[in-house]
């Protein structure tokens, strides 16, 4: 995620399952009110994440897993420094970078080397004085355009199929209860009909990404 980015979520989105070391608790300790950080800058949330780790003395092992294999009921992770960790349980929290979407019907029209995905485009200084075409018409397309412009890009074009979305303050308050519903019934989502799931995705998508 690029420097200077803002989060779309409000102060009630947080990391602690115990709801103690929340984002709001962090802000209170820093003497900051909700109104002072609206929208929430990415850097502020990253600082909250560090604070959260400190609250629970969570230690990270900053290295890349290069290989994960299973044998005899255990998992072995090989790290980029060559060391190995053997574990009985593994949780894959994979983030987004493995899942960049390159629409085939679009990519086939683009010369090799002409394009990158927003996921790999986080240093906007590189685009100073350059002309850029952004393909896509949702939040990331417009936010990348704004950030590139503010870093001195010469021209930015944005192309997308739909009509220009509305710029308005969204209401996210309905999302948290839906997520929490999973605590009471872990399988509620999968029990919905495909049609009801679709309805929910559409509603969510209207405010999303």
């Amino acid at each position: 995620m690029p420097r200077g980015m803002f989060l779309r979520s409000g102060s009630d989105w947080q990391l602690d399952a115990r709801e103690v070391a929340t984002f709001e608790a962090y802000m209170k300790q820093r003497g900051v009110t909700t109104d002072q950080i609206k929208p929430v800058p990415l850097d502020t949330f990253l600082d909250y994440a560090s604070w959260f780790m400190g609250q629970y003395a969570v230690k990270s092992h900053p290295s890349l897993v290069t290989h994960l294999a299973s044998s005899n009921g255990a998992y072995t992770a090989t790290l980029d420094d060559g060391s190995q960790i053997v574990a009985n349980h593994v949780l894959l929290g994979l983030g987004f970078a493995f899942f960049k979407h390159y629409p085939p019907e679009l990519v086939e029209k683009l010369p090799p080397g002409s394009y990158t995905h927003t996921c790999d485009t986080v240093d906007f200084e590189f685009y100073r004085g350059k002309r850029v075409l952004i393909v896509g018409g949702r939040q990331s397309a417009f936010e990348w355009a704004a950030l590139m412009n503010e870093k001195g890009a010469e021209q930015i074009h944005i192309t997308y199929r739909h009509a220009t979305p509305k710029f308005t303050e969204p209401d996210w308050s309905w999302v948290l209860p839906l997520a929490r519903r999973t605590l009471d019934d872990h399988g509620w989502w999968r029990k919905l009909t495909a049609e009801d799931q679709e309805k929910s995705v559409t509603t969510f998508g209207q405010q999303d990404v």
């Binding site: 979520s9 899942f99 029209k109 350059k130 393909v135 412009n149 303050e169 872990h186």
Partner: protein, 131 residues
């Protein structure tokens, strides 16, 4: 679809050109290493770079560090998503998956921070019960 209000003024700038309801027809490389772009409303532009703001789609087969023989091949997936039980566990015992890749079974909220504590609680309790 809605965009954040705080983006409005930042994108309505003289050097930002918004081509709504268009698709790319053709892109041709020039000798000066720029690209001529033709859109289907017949407008054109010449750019140094093209950036795809085309989002994300989970596909476990893109996760290069997973061992093909012992994990990827036996891992049950549907349209790239791992098939998870109600505790976020894949069909491989004690291998859990959360985040964007869990959204098929748990809903789109699980691709976002909002559901992070929920997944943590469910997976944490499950793992603890197996210790």
């Amino acid at each position: 679809m809605i965009l954040e209000a705080w983006l409005d003024a930042r994108v309505h700038q003289p050097n930002i050109y918004i081509h709504e309801k268009t698709v790319i027809v053709a892109v041709n490389a020039r000798s000066d290493l720029t690209f001529d772009v033709l859109l289907d409303d017949d407008s054109t532009c010449n750019v140094h770079h093209i950036i795809l703001a085309t989002g994300y789609h989970p596909n476990m087969h893109n996760v290069a560090f997973l061992d093909r023989v012992t994990i990827l091949n036996p891992l049950e997936t549907v349209e790239g998503y791992p098939v998870l039980d109600t505790e976020f566990q894949s069909n491989l015992p004690n291998l859990y998956v959360t985040g964007l890749a869990a959204t098929r079974d748990f809903g789109p909220f699980f691709g976002f921070t909002v559901a992070c504590p929920v997944a943590a609680k469910i997976i944490g309790e499950q793992v603890a019960s197996h210790q």
